[in-house]
Subunit: 174 residues, 2 copies
């Protein structure tokens, strides 16, 4: 399976804080390694880092990256760039091909994205060709990429874990 | 396949507007019929209705519902209630069973939810048992429920459609 990192572009501090935090948490819960944020937003970084500290794993968030540099460095190091956009090729048509790559950078935009990204990406991928959300697009992309195996992932170093239950809330803390 | 409607609870106008709009758009793009919103927020209703008008289909949004009444009426009419919560049973363990029901109301909360909902729901379902986002949870739940068939859905009455493409943006308007 490929290793995956997410690059969040077009983030506007304040306005996008909650959505970008959801992008990062979905990335972590669905098997990505970390998120680069092309903006300065310590609120996003601390929210996600707090979740990692309690719930385990080594997902990282790095803000203040320059998106173009991040994409260029990734490609120079032999990685593959996937841009999620509703205008791209259908996910179900390209996901098997994408899965054969070793290192994926998944670019998700907020609102309008710089036009250059379409040409710089190795794959422009559309999840449904309908408008919905970068959070749902990323989640579905990762789930199809990892073929559902990420859904039962455990985080052995977690301070808190959920014990799945029919009704109510059960957790174990250590 | 079951028919599905979403009930969004705990929505705070302003603060949750964007996330709730994403919930509604993901619901529409992934095969649900409509969304009930347990709050008054004409901004959410008009954003989603604008997408429906351009992109087709008959997804509806109804705000100002009372969540308890909505759940009770749904059950009284023979429907099944699924509450998405990270504390519930693992989705992969219950999704086949849930798929056998005809009418599903999928309840998604923002932040804290009223404790009663755990007991009123027929199923409390967790997507990963990790904290992420109600948007990614709903998307993954619907995709697993419909077994990916919803991803290629067409909306014949759309004013605008995407022509999937390798790079750039191609649409047809009529």
């Amino acid at each position: 399976m490929p290793t995956v990192r997410v690059l969040r572009i077009g983030h506007r501090p304040e306005r996008d804080r909650r959505v970008t935090t959801h992008v990062g948490l979905a990335a972590r819960a669905l098997g990505a390694d970390g998120m680069y944020l092309a903006a300065s937003d310590s609120g996003v970084v601390s929210s996600i880092s707090d979740v990692v500290a309690r719930w385990g794993g080594d997902f990282f968030v790095q803000d203040r990256v320059t998106w173009r540099r991040c994409v260029e460095d990734w490609k120079a190091a032999g990685g593959t760039v996937v841009h999620l956009t509703m205008y791209g090729l259908r996910m179900i048509d390209v996901i098997d091909d994408i899965r054969s790559h070793e290192k994926l950078l998944v670019v998700v935009g907020a609102g309008k994205v710089p036009g250059d990204i379409y040409g710089m990406a190795d794959y422009n991928v559309s999840v449904t060709t309908q408008p919905h959300s970068e959070i749902s697009s990323l989640a579905l992309f990762l789930d199809h990429l990892f073929e559902g195996k990420e859904l039962s992932r455990e985080y052995p170093d977690a301070k808190i874990r959920v014990l799945p239950t029919k009704a109510g809330k059960r957790t174990v803390e250590r």
